[in-house]
Symmetry: C2
Subunit: 352 residues, 2 copies
């Protein structure tokens, strides 16, 4: 198989972790006989510094003309005081919207090797955690009409049936491949958009009779995630609720430096990135944990290229290296072997 990947390293530790992820990508390509080629593009602070805007047209075009996108991280305090249309986050929104990536998959997995880092009591996490948050990514209050005067401001959360239906169907399909349980989260006791959301879930449900559906209000979901996260398997929700709940879910795993994400279009095209931020304080110091980005490559192989064995191979390699006691600083505990970004990437590539 031949695939061309747009690489957007971004800011802070972005270049550090993407470098290691590409090491693993090329190693898996060599092992399985695939040819992966890449082109690099600027976005976020890096683009602001170079060309004065967070998302150059060239980057968007380059991504569009590739088979998928690997993103590091964007943003940092250096650009936080810029006008809002020049903030690095605009690059993220521009990529999501511009590439039509409406389906954001955020697995929250507790790595058994890191269970000490889980903030929840052992009796709550039991055998472990493995849930999937499916977040709508190109609608809602992130993309609605907005306005500002000196004295007031507004943002609009808007959804059409079509926007809701396509993400809900994706979630049902994912639930079918997992435990066949889907929890839809909304605020239907208050919001019109949530009432519409719930109506769509109830209608679409008819096409997936094997999937058991539940509905939770977002405030209750935020509680249940802490109280008993194991009740969840797949959660589907709108953009902003998904932003909040997926971060909460990843935190309860305690494995935040380990968690990848995928942002998908209707077809198999997607953008893949770690869920953690750009951590500018440790950029370039060989301190960052590249595992979330490496696992993002595994997601890319699985979701965009249909390469299951190759994806499994990366995930097993990560497990093996953790089993052997290697840890980057962020996940290091007494008795484990502390290594840098570079060595972690190399060890995983060698363990494939």
């Amino acid at each position: 198989m031949k695939k061309h990947i747009a690489v957007v390293s971004g800011d802070g530790i972005g270049p550090d972790i993407v470098r290691e992820a590409l090491k693993v990508l090329f190693a898996v390509g060599a092992k399985f006989g695939h040819t992966f080629t890449t082109s690099s593009y600027l976005a976020g602070g890096a683009a602001l510094d170079a060309v004065g805007i967070p998302l150059p047209e060239e980057t968007l075009d380059g991504c569009r003309n590739s088979d998928s996108v690997l993103l590091g991280a964007v943003g940092g305090p250096k650009w936080d005081t810029l006008a809002s249309n020049l903030r690095p986050e605009k690059a993220l929104l521009g990529l999501r919207g511009g590439l039509g990536l409406f389906c954001n998959l955020r697995p929250a997995i507790l790595y058994k090797q890191l269970s000490d880092a889980c903030p929840l009591k052992a009796e709550i996490i039991g055998e472990g955690l493995d849930l999937m948050v499916v977040r709508e990514l190109t609608g809602g209050i992130y993309f609605g009409e907005r306005g500002r005067t000196d004295d007031a401001a507004f943002d609009t959360m808007a959804y059409t049936v079509g926007e809701i239906e396509r993400i809900v169907r994706k979630a049902f399909e994912i639930a079918q491949k997992r435990s066949k349980r889907l929890c839809s989260v909304d605020k239907a006791n208050i919001l019109n958009t949530s009432q519409l959301w719930r109506e769509v879930v109830k209608r679409v449900q008819g096409d997936y009779p094997d999937v058991e559906v539940s509905h939770l209000y977002v405030d209750n979901a935020a509680m249940q995630l802490v109280r008993n996260p194991r009740q969840f398997d797949v959660i589907v929700t709108e953009n902003m609720f998904g932003d909040i709940l997926s971060d909460e879910a990843s935190q309860i795993t305690g494995s935040i430096g380990m968690l990848p994400s995928a942002s998908l279009r209707e077809d198999s095209y997607g953008m893949y990135e770690p869920i953690h931020g750009s951590a500018p304080d440790i950029a370039g110091k060989d301190l960052a944990n590249p595992i979330a980005t490496i696992l993002s490559v595994a997601m890319m192989l699985r979701y965009s290229f249909g390469l299951q064995a190759e994806a499994d191979c990366i995930e097993s390699a990560v497990s093996k290296v953790l089993d052997n006691g290697y840890r980057t600083a962020d996940i290091h505990t007494p008795g484990m072997k502390k290594i840098g970004t570079n060595d972690m990437g190399s060890l995983i590539a060698q363990s494939l």
Copy 2:
């Protein structure tokens, strides 16, 4: 002191827990020589059943003409299929909006007697948890313009400077009386309303130079509450973020049956209610935990009537009864004495 209190028992366990809270209110009145009188009003499902609307004008008027309001709980599955303008929740919004209760105080306290119920590891909760979420309650997406067609829906999150400033000032005043640390939560990297919010916090901050201010994005706040809740003392945020984060915060204490809340106007007038729901499955069975409602009475005495000693007296009585090993079913653990709603109220009243 003479005070007249509007009592809205509401639905489910509402009447059970309000009855016990009034027992304690009258006992504290007798002990300290105050005269508390009450009038009862219908709201929520109880009002729907009786008069066909969730919030009769008479209830709103009765509340307006009282010195404060004690609310039990509203809602339940029985009324969940009604049109949205007839939902019991409309009563809550109608009371909040109609009475101008823009300032919602939601303490999240870990009761040391219940620390086993806390879902977080002992090393995270350390000496305990005691934080205060200050939630804007009459603005934002709960009250903004909204619309619906067959194919689409929208909700509007809107804020004026005045709406933000008054809640932010309340939060600063509360922080001054506590640890002098205030964390403002927003989504200023995306929302116009959040950018305005942050501007107001930064300006108003000048009037409270003794308070140390931090800002967090809501997704990060949802994570930090799980990772290290002890970093927080007072959190201030807009209506919907406050809904989500205050529920998450109360869950991490594990003491949800114990937590009261206050909803205040600019003056000392307020509405007081437990944060838990109406639990219709256990209504009328002498199973509900009345402590959150009893502690809501303590908040009323403190915030609306300035009766500090009386409020402290209720809180100590609750502690004493817990120390003596009495528990309602929801907080019962092996070795403790299980008692009903009625006995719990009586024991607390006797311990004043």
